[in-house]
């Protein structure tokens, strides 16, 4: 049982940290610009596809460096020439814009790369088991994923709290007009944040692509869950997003690893149902079966009991 627990924790960490890389950008963009970027996960997908194409010619490491940069520039362009114009028409227009953008990117990916799964492989140099525990291997690449995500978190936290630019960004979140009056170029800051946010999503795509497979549906699988994290963590809170990401990563991982469900519960209560019972599906439900929808359950609970999220400060 111990081995299952240890590996469930490690798996949860990998997923959680990956989710954080997406959620951090999304929560920053939202808190700053008030834009709920529906296309965020699409930039994640673009990251994976760009890195795949680059890796075909120049290897994985070039993809790791350049794919996020391309995605970041693309994000900045979208902000500068798309969102900024739409911004004048209000939030609904922005929402519709990003929503449309998500579809557009998905179709574009299918158009240029086709609907097939892409053979995007992790680098050979990381193709060895990092350690073997109870006969199970933990691949070096997964260790590398944890390393990258953790260093991103540390760097991001440092920049936002310690550096001058971080202070300006934080100020621009709450008092954009004051910051502008002090002579800072607020639109430029917005563009920068949007670019960095999408670049982070792109980076997440680059490192997730080889493990979670690169295919046109990869943004949909992750898209909804990232919003859940941002809401649970509290809109605009980086630390909240971090906690919520790990929470959801671990929650799902443990739920899958567990072997309990309604049958065990009913046994405990000494109740038994026939297989032909009309609600048979309900009585045979197990925790692993519903693991992927647990985050949404958590979302509902958080919205009921703590609408601002775990660390959110904003009150409407």
């Amino acid at each position: 049982m111990l081995e299952v627990f240890i590996f469930a924790t490690l798996n949860g960490l990998v997923t959680g940290l990956l989710l954080f890389m997406l959620a951090s950008g999304l929560t920053l963009i939202f808190s700053m610009m008030g834009v709920l970027n529906f296309a965020h996960a699409s930039f994640y997908m673009l990251g994976a596809y760009f890195a795949y194409s680059i890796s075909l010619y120049f290897g994985f490491w070039m993809g790791l460096i350049f794919a996020p940069l391309i995605v970041g520039v693309l994000g900045a362009v979208v902000e500068r020439y798309g969102l900024r114009r739409v911004h004048q028409s209000g939030h609904v227009a922005e929402l519709v814009f990003t929503f449309g953008l998500a579809f557009l990117i998905e179709e574009a990916v299918q158009f240029f790369w086709g609907p097939d799964t892409k053979n995007y492989q992790s680098p050979d140099i990381l193709d060895f088991p990092l350690f073997t525990l109870f006969g199970q291997e933990f691949s070096a690449y997964r260790g590398f994923m944890i390393g990258i995500s953790l260093s991103i978190f540390v760097a991001l936290y440092h920049v936002l709290t310690k550096s001058r630019i971080g202070i300006i960004i934080q100020a621009a979140i709450t008092h954009p007009n004051t910051v502008a009056n002090l002579g800072h170029n607020v639109p430029l800051i917005f563009m920068g944040v949007f670019g960095v946010g999408t670049a982070l999503a792109g980076l997440a795509g680059v490192i997730a692509g080889p493990v979670l497979t690169t295919f046109p549906g990869m943004s949909i699988v992750l898209g909804s869950i990232v919003f859940v994290i941002v809401v649970i963590g509290g809109l605009g809170s980086l630390a909240g997003a971090f906690i919520a990401s790990l929470l959801i990563g671990l929650l799902q991982s443990y739920a899958i690893a567990s072997d309990v469900g309604m049958p065990e519960l009913l046994n405990l209560l000494g109740v038994e149902f026939e297989r032909s019972h009309p609600l048979n599906d309900l009585w045979t439900l197990t925790l692993p079966q519903i693991a992927p929808i647990l985050p949404f359950l958590l979302l509902v609970l958080v919205l009921i009991f703590r609408p601002t999220g775990l660390l959110g400060k904003r009150e409407e």
Binding site: E3, V4, F7, A8, N11, G12, V14, T15, E107, Q110, G114, P115, D116, T117, K118, N119, Y120, P129, T132, F134, G135, Q136, E137, S139, Y141, R142, V211, L212, T213, F215, P216, G217, M218, I220, V221, L222, I225, Q252, S253, I256, A257, P288, Q289, A291, P292, I293
Partner: protein, 419 residues
């Protein structure tokens, strides 16, 4: 105003001309067949691949040779159902309004079930305008059992038939002592699980089922947590009915964990899957299917596969049963000289047809289920003449079961419409 009068004979000449033109144009009117499968979204890869194969088969066998029924071309009309039952209903209405009366559909048994019910209801209410469902790939047994319908024909072996062959093979493998079953949480995934468990209990009661897991379809980001359970269960082999991205991710995670056990699947090949798994999947990924991939038994089929490859360098003939289905339907049309679904259905019943592989296949009239030999194949790069995804790797068929031995009884009590 002066009235222009044509002489009578010119008038009649015109009339004849118009009339003959009319006959001509109706003779040239194409036979239109709908292809309803996901052409966008997460499962687009399988759908577009099937569409290309059907279109190519129509061109290769018929359109390039002057068409069918004395010169009518076959036109394949794509309808994108996004693999959603709701969208399927919308697309069905579109098919009806465009007078498409033959619908090919294969992906997802849930969708096939919806389409089956929709078609039955429509046909009951619109006698004389019935629609025919050509199921080339949805293998939930229920479609030819409890829910069997006169208007539904299945050109793929259903899950119970395939699992029967698979468990026959597994029963002979002394080294397999425990089995892990994992699948998508919907009708087909559950059918695979239930049937596997009961067949294994019958054929090899000593094999322990160490895991029986379901996960939501298309929702799992990372299969590693599931694989952790497979590893700790100590399973000697895995059975899964997963397809698409769920299949690739699962196989990738199993291979990444360092687990060296056979994975028995229905759909783990082609459309990027073989290339992605590559050398890691060698001798691990097994597939149970009809029509061998390597070796190909006849020159006729080889020619066809080469022609397809020449026309679509990045694609493969992944579903030869599409060709069989189209050829059988055309034969039914030629026999009856009709494109009416009722006539076609009657002609298809108990039809025996010689495929490109020189194998006689049989469409059973009782439940509209096809019977042909089934094969178990493994992913490898040895003795592969036709590889998948241009990867050098392909499927090698090593265990064969002739059609007679795949025949299973049916509980179908078909209601036949009267005309």
């Amino acid at each position: 105003m002066k009235k222009i009068r044509f002489p009578i004979f010119i008038n009649s000449l015109l009339l004849i001309l118009i009339a003959s033109f009319g006959i001509n144009s109706s003779a040239q009117e194409p036979v239109r067949i709908a292809f309803m499968d996901p052409l966008s979204g997460a499962f687009a890869a399988i759908g577009t691949s099937g569409l290309k194969q059907l279109q190519f088969a129509a061109d290769y066998f018929y359109n390039s040779k002057g068409g069918i029924l004395d010169g009518r071309m076959i036109e394949i009309v794509p309808l994108d159902n996004k693999q959603s039952p709701t969208e399927t209903q919308i697309q069905f209405r579109r098919a009806v309004s465009e007078e498409l009366r033959i619908i090919f559909q294969g992906n997802s048994s849930a969708v096939a079930n919806t389409l089956n019910q929709t078609i039955n209801r429509y046909n009951r209410r619109n006698p004389g305008q019935e629609v025919l469902q050509i199921n080339y790939s949805a293998v939930d047994p229920i479609l030819t059992e409890e829910n069997c319908s006169f208007w539904h024909f299945r050109f793929d072996a259903h899950a119970a038939m395939k699992l029967n062959v698979l468990t026959d093979y597994i029963a002979k493998q002394e080294s397999i002592k425990s089995m892990y079953i994992i699948g998508q949480d919907y009708s087909f995934g559950q059918a695979v699980s239930d049937i596997s468990i009961s067949l294994l209990a019958e054929k090899r009661p000593d094999i322990e089922i160490v895991g029986n897991e379901f996960h939501p379809i298309g929702q799992v980001k990372d299969f590693t947590p599931y694989v952790t359970k497979i590893v700790s269960s100590g399973a000697d082999a895995v059975i899964t009915g997963n397809f698409g991205a769920d299949m690739v991710s699962l196989a990738k995670s199993i291979i990444d964990s360092g687990l060296d056990i056979p994975i028995y699947t229905f759909y783990a090949a082609y459309d990027g899957i073989t290339a992605t798994l590559g050398a890691d999947g060698k001798n691990k990924i097994h597939l149970i299917h009809n029509e061998t991939s390597n070796p190909i038994p006849t020159e006729r089929r080889k020619d066809y596969m080469r022609a397809y490859k020449a026309a679509n360098p990045n694609r493969d003939v992944t579903q030869p049963r599409l060709v069989n289905a189209l050829q059988m339907i055309v034969q039914a049309m030629e026999q009856t000289q009709s494109t009416d679904p009722y006539d076609i259905a009657l002609a298809l019943e108990d039809m025996r047809f010689m495929t490109l592989s020189d194998e006689e296949i049989w469409m059973r009239g009782d439940d509209h289920q096809i019977f042909q030999s089934l094969h178990l194949s493994v992913q490898t790069d040895e003795e592969i003449e036709f590889d998948a995804d241009n990867s050098g790797f392909g499927l090698f068929s090593f265990f064969h079961v002739p059609a007679e031995e795949t025949i299973v009884e049916t509980s179908c009590q078909m209601k036949r419409p009267r005309r």
